[in-house]
Structure formats: C-alpha cells, structure tokens
Symmetry: C2
Subunit: 226 residues, 2 copies
C-alpha cells in the first residue's frame, strides 16, 4: 500500500511525532468517522462545512443538493481540504500548558471531481449509505432518476494527506510530576443510543440489526451487519 | 440579546428552516462542544484544522503554539471561519434520498485578533481550561511566563455567524410512508468513560469531581463542578 504523499505544505512541523503518512491508519480513521468538515473558499472567505462522507478505496466521497454552494464551489476544481477528526479524550496534565486532547485526524488536500456518470453516482450513494449503516441500501428505497439528478456527488483522491494522532496520558515536565495534582485522561467516544422508531407511516416496529446493534469501532465497519 | 448578523454570504439558502441567527442557541451549541474546526487559507490552499476552543461572552477563543501555521495565519487578520458541529444522530428515512443526520452547528466568519496583553492571555487560557473541566484551573499548575510567551491566543467575535439545526425523525415523501421499511433515528452523543489516572509521578489517586463525574449537556456547562 502506497503511503500518503508528503509535501512541504502538509508536513507536520510542530510535535512532528504526531504526524504520519500511513495510508492504512488514514483509512481506519476515515472508516470510523461519520462526518467530515470541508474547507473551501467562496468570495475570498474560507468556509468549513460539516457533511457526511464515505471512503471508497483511495477516494473520499461527499454529496448533497445540486444547489449547495459547497458542492458547486468544489465542482469548479478549486482547491479544497477535507478534514476528519475523531475526539478520543481530554488530557488533564498537572500543568495547564501540557494539558491537551487525544484525537485522530486526517487532513486531505486536493481538487475534487464531480461524478457525472449515473452508475458511478449510484455506486457512490451506495457507499455513503453503507458507510452509515451496512445493509441499509438494500432495505431502503433507492434513489429515483429524479433524486439522482437533484444530487451532486464529488470525490477527492486521497493523495496529499496527513494523519495526526495524539494518544496516551499527559506528558508533564519532570519538575511537575511530584506535584500533588491528579492527572490523567477522560476518554471520549461517540456513543449510540437506542434507535427511535418513526411513529408515522406503516408502523414497522422491527428494528433492523444495523440500527439495533449500532456500534462503532467494529473492525469491519461501524455497525454490526444486520 | 442581539441576534447574530445575517449577510448575503451567511444566509442559509437550502432547507432554510434549518438556519437561524439566534445568538443564545449559538452559545448553547458552543458551550456544549469541545472542539472546533478552523478554516483558513495558506498559499491559496484552504485548510480545516481541528482545535480546542472556548467562548467568552461574544468571543470565540483558540490557542496554540506561537509556531503554529494556523495561528500565524490567523494573526495576519486574514478572513477565517470557525465551525463547531455536534452530531446528534443518524436519520434513516425510508428512502435513501431523505436519509440524513441530526446535528447542530455554528459557522462563524470574520477576522481573528491576536491577544497580546498578558493578563488578557491568561484570562483566555483560564476560559479554555474551565470550558473543558470547570475547576481545573485552580487545581492545575497555571502557566509560567515562559509558557505564556510560547502560546498564541486569538479571538474571533461572534458577529457574522449562522446556526444550523436538523433534529427529529425522517421526513419521508408521502408515497414512501406505507412502505414496509423500518425508519427512525439512531441517537448519537459524545460519551465520557471512566477517568484513567496517570501512573507516573506523585501517584495522586483521588480523581477530582470534574473528571470523575464528567458529563456533557449540563445546563451550566459540560462537567459537574467538582
């Protein structure tokens, strides 16, 4: 597997040991996360907009309304940045200065491509749906031609990208270690609650497996296959 | 309380009912969240970088190393965007097209200001620390003059900002409601695990209240005051 592409502008300069160009590590982070933030420039104003995404091999996929400013801007092949962040904990060091967060992030730079071929669009929407809930695509009503036409799909190749990871306990200065101050980590994780069935319509009560046993951090994806 | 400032560029155009300029709602979202994504432009490349933040009245505060590219760029009074997103659930509609996410976000635009006055810097760091764990500032070793000098603090006034909220169940087309497809919401929330005490140093085992009973969504802040 090819490593990610290191360039002067994506080289981690500060706390360099947190940076990595390990492609598999990037994929693991991307496959665990549910949303990304897309940075783009509109009228000289940088914007960071949250949106759903999925990964298909070395491509990041985002989608939305054809009327979306974000997607219209991305379609013009302007440079963009897609950032995915998992927050893993609060690190309380003995000093305020060394206190920190545990996290894993991927920052991917490049130019997005508009997917125009209907079959490729459908495949991308399949990937987006299955990323959230493996099995849902077959259960749900799939997009009509009209819905497909109202949807823009864009891909960004994972080439120039950086992984950053901060993990473990506080790294206090030697001179602070003997202070009578509790130090440690408060672990954080995105947790799923019990599914809430929509009360309208046909009243299907049987919650499918991928919703009932929604669990993150499964090695093979986010949800237990239903 | 003044509403947030609506301008042509921050007006929510699509699904307009999700947009709001309610300042109190913005504050509630900001006070619950732990990280933001800062969008800025460096060498014509937009970047979105995750970082800790806090709110002090109508100011967003970010900080980091004086060597940080993000903070150095922000210090030049270039336009930036600070986005805070809380992911609240996965919405599984009967159709793939109407499937969505529940979320609350604040997108703030403007120009950041470098805080140079040492007392104001210290006050900002106090705010950042207390945002994560109310009570920690008094417990921890506070920044030395040297540490303060190595830290950049920037503020962004909450003026031109947009709140977006998607909540509730799926909004299927009428014609899809009677399909025999389960539909509903998988609620999501960032959950804290048991604090992990750092094994090095003086070996203080007594976990302070703000770490032991770390809970989000408290009306008066994130953690229960210790």
């Amino acid at each position: 597997m090819q490593p990610l592409k290191q360039t002067p502008r994506n080289t981690v300069r500060r706390v360099a040991e947190r940076g990595s160009f390990d492609r598999q590590l990037a994929y693991d982070i991307l496959d665990e996360a549910l949303i990304c933030h897309v940075a783009f420039v509109a009228d000289d104003q940088p914007m960071a907009i949250p949106t759903a995404f999925a990964r298909d091999d070395d491509q990041l996929i985002v989608h939305g309304s054809v009327a979306s400013r974000m997607l219209k801007t991305m379609s013009t092949e302007m440079p963009v940045c897609i950032t995915v962040t998992l927050l893993d904990g609060i690190v309380l060091a003995r000093s305020v200065f060394e206190s920190s967060m545990n996290y894993r992030s991927v920052v991917a730079l490049g130019t997005a491509k508009l997917v125009t071929d209907p079959a490729a669009k459908l495949a991308a929407l399949h990937q987006l749906t299955e990323h959230l809930a493996p099995g849902r695509w077959e259960d749900a009503r799939q997009p009509s031609e009209k819905e497909l036409g109202a949807t823009s799909v864009l891909t960004l190749a994972l080439e120039e990208a950086t992984v950053k990871v901060r993990k473990g306990g506080p790294k206090d200065l030697e001179k602070d270690l003997e202070r009578p101050i509790w130090a440690g980590v408060i672990p954080l994780d995105l947790a799923a609650g019990d599914p809430v069935t929509d009360p309208t319509g046909a009243g299907i009560e049987a919650v499918p497996g991928y919703a009932a046993s929604y669990q993150r951090k499964q090695p093979a994806g986010r949800a237990v296959k239903g």
